[in-house]
């Protein structure tokens, strides 16, 4: 399927994706609401830190961290693994493979189409964050601020790739739900979703610092809330780019192998 045809198809794909998202108002809202863990953690840690700083984090710092967490999670989260495994289970995947559009592009388009809406919902959170934390817990370095958006984009790409790869495992394994749960557990732990990485026990912290999870979530948060020198900030972007490419390659390899197997078995 040629690249030009894909590009030409993109506007329609995006438009339909938007219509789909809007078609089910309540589901859309529910999806937004499911990322409540950061809020719960926020409630917990701000209560704890009210009596005094907890390992270097003040109440305001926790507020900043978890609200930024919520924003990033909402903007970068992907559900393509569920989509793929459902399509395989219901038989719709066979149909999709017949179409002259690579599923990676199709799924990516439908996900991108939802970003505008998620931004709308995320906006009030961002405002609350700015108003409640102010400059004390948020960065003001212009370089860091400039890098936030690229970092979010890269985080989105890495997350999508990893989810796409896990979804592709549905070609090999029937119980993708178990895999997804395992993945989500690791993600919560190592990405900074559950707890800021510096608060993790030492042994785990070491793991978290070089696994891709950090670059899916914690990286943009760090740019927003931690004072970094230029080198450190740039390094984050470099590492994210590296992971974006690596996960893309991995995702497509697993996908291709999976499809071959799928077709051999009879779809």
């Amino acid at each position: 399927m040629s690249a030009t045809r894909t590009l030409r198809a993109l506007p329609t794909l995006l438009r339909v994706g938007v219509a789909e998202t809007v078609a089910y108002r309540a589901e859309f809202l529910v999806w937004i609401l499911t990322t409540t863990l950061p809020l719960v953690m926020l409630g917990l840690w701000t209560s704890v830190a009210q009596d005094g700083e907890f390992k270097g984090y003040s109440s305001a710092a926790f507020v900043a961290y978890y609200l930024a967490n919520l924003i990033v999670r909402n903007l970068t989260g992907s559900w393509v693994a569920w989509q793929i495994s459902e399509e395989i289970r219901l038989g719709a995947m066979s149909m999709r493979l017949l179409r002259p559009l690579h599923p990676y592009v199709a799924f990516a388009a439908s996900h991108l189409a939802a970003v505008p809406f998620r931004s709308v919902v995320v906006l009030p959170v961002a405002v609350v964050l700015l108003v409640s934390s102010g400059a004390s817990a948020l960065t003001t370095e212009p370089l860091q601020l400039a890098l936030i958006v690229p970092s979010l984009v890269l985080a989105w790409i890495i997350t999508f790739n990893v989810m796409f790869m896990i979804g592709s495992l549905g070609f090999y394994v029937t119980k993708t739900m178990a895999l997804l749960n395992l993945y989500f557990g690791l993600f919560s732990l190592l990405s900074g979703y559950l707890l800021p990485i510096p608060l993790l026990p030492v042994q785990i912290r070491w793991f978290a610092e070089w696994m891709p999870f950090r670059y899916m979530l914690s990286a943009p948060i760090e740019l927003m809330t931690v004072k970094l020198d230029a080198a450190a900030a740039a390094w984050i972007l470099v590492a994210q780019s590296g992971w974006a490419i690596a996960t893309l390659v991995l995702a497509l390899v697993v996908w291709n192998r999976g499809v071959k197997r799928f077709e051999a078995v009879g779809g």
Partner: protein, 262 residues
Amino acid sequence: MTRYLRLFVVQMRISVAAGMAYRADFLLEGVMAIAWMALTLLPLFVLYSGRKDVAGWDAPSAMIVIGYFLAVRAVLEGVVSPSFVDLVERIRSGAFDYVLLKPVDAQAIVSASRFEPWKIFDLIGAVVLVIYAFTKIGHPPALADLGLGLVLFVAGVLAMYSLWILCAAASFWVVRLDNLTYLLGAIFDTARWPVQVFRGLWRFVFTFVIPVAVMTTFPAMALLGRLDAATALAVIGGSLGLLVVSRLVWRTAIRSYTSASS
């Protein structure tokens, strides 16, 4: 009555048979249960490595709250959630019509239509955790406390079940709601902390609006002998009340589905 019992047994048997189909799952589920418990305990570990006491709860007593959390979650993920997913699928495909045509209450059919039998591991893990917590405390719970702790566990499960029925009823009005099961899980996640840890509005919400406190904190307090009789009765009453409300809402949902009101 026997009809309902036999239905439950058949549904259980079918789910276990389906679950046994892949033997590798056995190992996987066991590993998952342990991994998940470790993950649940981590924030606790981090918290108590920096503080000795949080809102009147020390590490072992907070562990008991987590034990209840794991136990109720085992029931949620073992019975309630899978059945809910099944229900949503039936509504979407139209096969729910067949449920209405059976001479058995629809709520009974959909409540336990699917099981994840391996969640029993999680339940066992919860019990082990509570026992461990009590070894840290130094003495076992008084018999009366143990009894009350069990009763409130049942009340907690009923409260959680009622919330699920309310979500299930909602899915009649808005068809594509499979995410609701994740929402329920996400809200339920707040139950892993003693409710006193939250302050102000949060505490109010978690005690009265979405009563997760009922499911974990109060039963833990009962087991530790810290719960007064009045609160215990209120919790039991509240759970039963919620059960009744959810039943009424469910009935309304069915009536709407069959356009009884139009």
